[in-house]
Subunit: 163 residues, 2 copies
Amino acid sequence: MTAPRTQIARAEVLCRERGVRLTDQRRRVLEILCAAGRPVGAYEIMDAMREGPRVVAPPTVYRALEFLLEQGLIHKIESLHAFVGCDHPEHPHSSEFLICLECGGVAELKDDAVERSLASVTRESGFLPRRRVVEVMGICARCARKEACRRKEEAERSPGPVD
Amino acid sequence: MTAPRTQIARAEVLCRERGVRLTDQRRRVLEILCAAGRPVGAYEIMDAMREGPRVVAPPTVYRALEFLLEQGLIHKIESLHAFVGCDHPEHPHSSEFLICLECGGVAELKDDAVERSLASVTRESGFLPRRRVVEVMGICARCARKEACRRKEEAERSPGPVD
DNA sequence: GGTCGGCACGTTATAAGATATCATGGCGTC
DNA sequence: GACGCCATGATATCTTATAACGTGCCGACC
């Protein structure tokens, strides 16, 4: 994961280059997302913004999110109804996401093989792709290791039937 | 797409084999989904059910949907908040979906290359996958053809600047 | 034959996510 | 200084989803 500070700085540069405005509200939403480093829902973002100078209503948050999505600075995780900062916003892209059911963490991948196979299967169908959603839910490496340790310890304490 | 009647019949058999109950409500939801042949939202299903003998409330619909999902008889399209009947419910699986932005139609694919590449990239990350969401939004072949025809006709009527 | 437990369903209420609509206010252009 | 554009404010509402609790059927078991 990229450091939040860096992500904001890159976003500033990109927006300037593109001639679009990274306003206070928009930057604030981006900051919240980057600082969290995990998927955050629109209303959670709204709550976080209430900490600041003024109260905001849902449309404000959704407008900022819409802008950030358009600029490729964040992604929406459809299966979670939540948003994450993008790890490499330099060029617009769709990514693949690995979502841990245990810790809620999300890893953003960019895998050529996945993209090639998807491109080829859509092409075969005569389908013109515009946006891709690829989300894999499961258990991340860290949580899997933890779980394995836990089981081992348990087994050592009471060596008996195992499920 | 499979004929709705066939899909229901197969579901009956599968449920009997598995020792689970395809109750009236559950079958009704499945019928509505299969008859539609396109993604249908939970509340639209609810409205369709109101046509029948009794009024149903959201939890009833969601419970039926949950059952059908568990049995692999339907799929949820995350990016549409909607559900579709499964084309081949014989063995549990995740599929890839092509969603047309023009006509709203959905095609269910099962592509080995996509699955292999996804499996390999998750394995590399030490990630244990449980459920996959692969949805490609775009324009289906039929709509693309129609659009092409429309443009051609327009060009013939007024041969001028093209966008 | 009664009763106990599990399961499906009913009912009410509400949480969570998203958008429509109209008003306001800053800021640059001409 | 009037106009238009864009971002935001504010209110209301819509859509999607779930929590919590109650009822009734039905088979297992005594």
